[in-house]
Amino acid sequence: MLPLRSVCGGIWRAAVHTVRTSRGAPPYRLLSSTCDGAPAALADADTIFALSSGHGRCGVAVVRVSGPASATALRCMAGFTQRLPPPRTALLRSITDPRSTEVLDRGLVLWFPAPRSFSGEDSVEFHIHGGPAVITAVLQALGSVPGLRPAEAGEFTRRAFQAGKLGLTEVEGLGDLIHAETEAQRRQALRQMSGELGRLYQDWSDRLKRCLAHVEAFIDFSEDELIEDGVLNRVDVSVRDLQAEIERHLKDERRGERLRGGVQVVIAGATNAGKSSLLNKLCQRPAAIVSPIAGTTRDVVETALDLGGFPVLLSDTAGLRDSSDLVEREGVRRALERVEQADLTLVVVDSAHLPSEVDRAAAFLREHLSSVLPDTGRCLLVLNKADLLPEKQRQKLDMELRGVSGLPAVCLISCQTNEGLKDFLTVLHSSVKTLCGDPLFGAPTLTQARHRAHLQRCAAALAQYQRYRDTDLALAAEGVRVAVTSLGRITGRVGAEEILDIIFKDFCIGK
């Protein structure tokens, strides 16, 4: 009679039963809300999408969609109104934005009905042109399809695992994979959060937390306590303002910070190792001031490079040393911050400081690395000023430092004589190439799409507050709670204790 309405769903017991039966469900769905920077996996019934091809200069980009609403995405973006295309067959279609019906690109679409797909679920692939504008437009269009959201770290893989599409060795590597992907996302988030956009999100998050704390205080304490109605009126104003600001931000695409694309390569090391000389060599112009005086570079110098077809954002940083100079200290802080956000760090060492014995040199370098890098981030060791070493020692180092355990790739160069630079460029190029092959590295469009999805949810939840404000404060508060959680997926999780802390700081509650 009413096929789409479940009759007993409103009763609690019914809900509990469905849960019990899923006891044996496989467990990787559980990767949940624990990682601070990385957003939590939402429930599995969602349909997810992501850019699956590499980043950088490429002719074709592949965007994958997986989950029950995949067919919907195909219908409303590739114009299949009547029936779906034959499975696993490439068709050339116009890809349109479902909201404006504007044509975004012409490309191939493929339909993989479950279970014969990578993830075992209904899936769709869009093969589109590789330009960032096209990719961004398609990702944003997908985000506007009901039931679709950007994939979280490792989510495609987890779903494939769930469907039994991965072998045992792949399953064992899952933890490491997720670690790597969340790390990549964390670095992405850090980059953005340290900028103007980050300050904006953080400000919203702080204001929202305060709104929630005040509504919760009004619910939990107002009857017996001195929490005046004025508190709620101030929340009304804040919620209205926040909703308007977030909606304005979502509408105005140019607003906010332009996200920095490309692989982030950071040059770091002790003072006077020749970091700025390396930067100048790499960009083939005197972008940074070089001098024999230690501590010449005090701020981060940034240059965009095209390295054999791959976009690279190269940063030179202040030399790391303890300094009493306030400006230099700030420079060192910024340098360390940049290293934390880097996809690849070039650790530059003055060869003349190396002990002459190879064993001791390796130990020296290991210790030096641990002082520069926060953990085992990707890096290359660049031993500069090789021209200052005696020929014999140079050869010995060059031969024997390769493949020493616990050390990354080592390149012996001289910025003065250009010795070893060519080999170094080959090593650097192949590292950057590897990084670009992974769609998670340096792909701001992905993060952008994720942020949009969370911000849209946040704004919608704030509208729920307004809707229920006068009739049911519990449901109104639920709206603020969802808003805080959505924004928290960008800025970090917010727990009940944190809200209670704000309550007790702002109100005198006592009975």
Partner: protein, 677 residues
Amino acid sequence: MGCSSTKPHLAHVGHLAGHQYDVIVVGGGHAGTEAAAAAARVGAETLLITQKIHTIGALSCNPSLGGVGKGQLVKEVDALDGLCGRAGDWAGIHFSILNRRKGPAVWGPRAQLDRQRYRDFIQSELLSTPRLTVLEGSVEELLVTEPNPEEPGHHRVTGIRLANGSHAISARSVVLTTGTFLSGSLFVGQTTSPGGRIGDAPSSPGLSHTLRERLGLRTGRLRTGTPPRIVKDSVDLSLAKLHLPDSHPTPFSFLNTHTHCKPEEQLPCYLTFTTPGVERVVRESLQLNCHIQQDTKGPRYCPSIESRVLRFPGRSHQVWLEPEGVTSDLLYPQGLSMTMPPDIQLRLIREIPPMRRAEIHTPGYGVQYDFVCPTQLSPALQVKSTQGLFLAGQINGTTGYEEAAAQGLWAGANAARWALSMPTVTLSRTESYIGVLIDDLVSRGVTEPYRMFTSRAEFRTSLRPDNADLRLTPKGFEEVGCVSSVRYQESLRVRNSLQDALTALQALFLSTSSWKKKLPSVPISETKSTLLTGLDLLQYNDVTFEMLASAFPESLSSYMEFAQRLKIEAVYKPHCDLNKKEIERIQREENMSLPQDIDYFSLPVSLSDEVREILDRVRPSTLGAATRLEGITPAAVVNLLNYVRVTEKKKETHRNQRHQEAQRDEELCANSASLPQ
């Protein structure tokens, strides 16, 4: 509901020598009485030991029950057939639903109580509970022995030894509910004396010693306080603001349709405020006030008047004057908990206009007491290291009657199940406030006395006071065994009726114009051409179930008794549906249990030292609890998960092997038996 006197099951120490109980409950407060009653309901031979039988069920502090968040706990304890809801309905003298205008999910059923009636009800219930015996005495120590090697744990409890006479009484499990009595000390002014409540000695130092030294449990110290009791006749109530109860009292219990107290017999409360004089007295007497100078953690939300005026100076603070009972000639000044010397207490209260000439009957005082860090407990409230030992109430770092009652019930039911060799049971934070309370305690621990707030419940819109019976009564009967079949049958009747009514509402499927004809007074927008069901209509602010029932009497009038519940179900349904996915995810995680004896430091999976340290310290019981810990990364969760899955597989293979071996042995035995001798 009744409070008739029945034949008491009182025991004398002499009769008990060599007696074996299933469960011994130590303490007769809110946790202890619920624990003892729940254990007996589950089917255990239970002994309740308390220092003084006549203080069983005493309200040591405020004469009230329920409130926002706490009311939810009372409803849930009642849904599991506990005592406090029915006791509140019997003893209540001023009922009100707090937050009435803020939505049914956060309604806070609350009542002022008559202390004497409450105590009478609890005592009479306990003394007429089958399988439950009450003994007056003080416990000197726990009897502890080697653990059962089949189960995790380093010790096993075998009973208790009484203080005088050194009688040992054995039991398979013991529930400790020592409240503020564990190494308790009382503070008034500069005087400190041992005690758990004014007029009562603390529990035996031997008990603290066993917990700390013998069992190696980490303990901490917390404090709380209570206000002076005021002589009612000495207060000029005309200077305070009158506060009336609800004109139709709502009972706490799902079994009661009305309260013992008639609506018109309810007593009022009075509201008054502090003056600058109060702040002056506090400041002048600080050096005479030991308790306030201590740095032991007190509750932030129930601070003494001293901390209130010191933290928020220059303000006027609320003081509620509450009746203590129908025949009592005392008033309870809520908000005036204080620990200064009695003569200064008198000076302070006389700074408040209605109490200009007030007399103090009993001065306020502070209490400091030991608690056991609750992360050492399992979600069944069993001490992880000690088989058969359960803790409930303030000993776990909580505050409040309702929090104590909720834990008591759950610990008592589990202690009984343990004693009767049944698996222990847990409540999820997705299905109840009791689950939220226990999960917060055992997985996060406490830094100050823990009190329930609705803001602690993630699924507040689903965990409402109105549906506690649907959420818990069937589980309490089918899985726990702590619910009577009478209550169970009633909850099934309610559940089926509600489901039928919702089906009937959905079957009313009309166009907007037909609805407009049926309900002319309701503003239904006709812009939508869609059809609407009765359930959709019931979500409208101005539509009540009564209106729908009078429009469609043939299909709806038989459900009139559930009018309010149906309205709430309809309004909350879309929000509960949204909660459902997240709830399912959490419940899946909670179904993955982590072994309690796991050595996280040598676990052969990729985990950082930091994560290992956290896991070792907290020892989460399930993967769900592990994911909620600070500092646990998604990668760590996956690695743990793979480990658990692999180990479970191995265990299963091992079990199968053992089973096969056992079969082989049996066959061998059978063969050898059949051999000719």
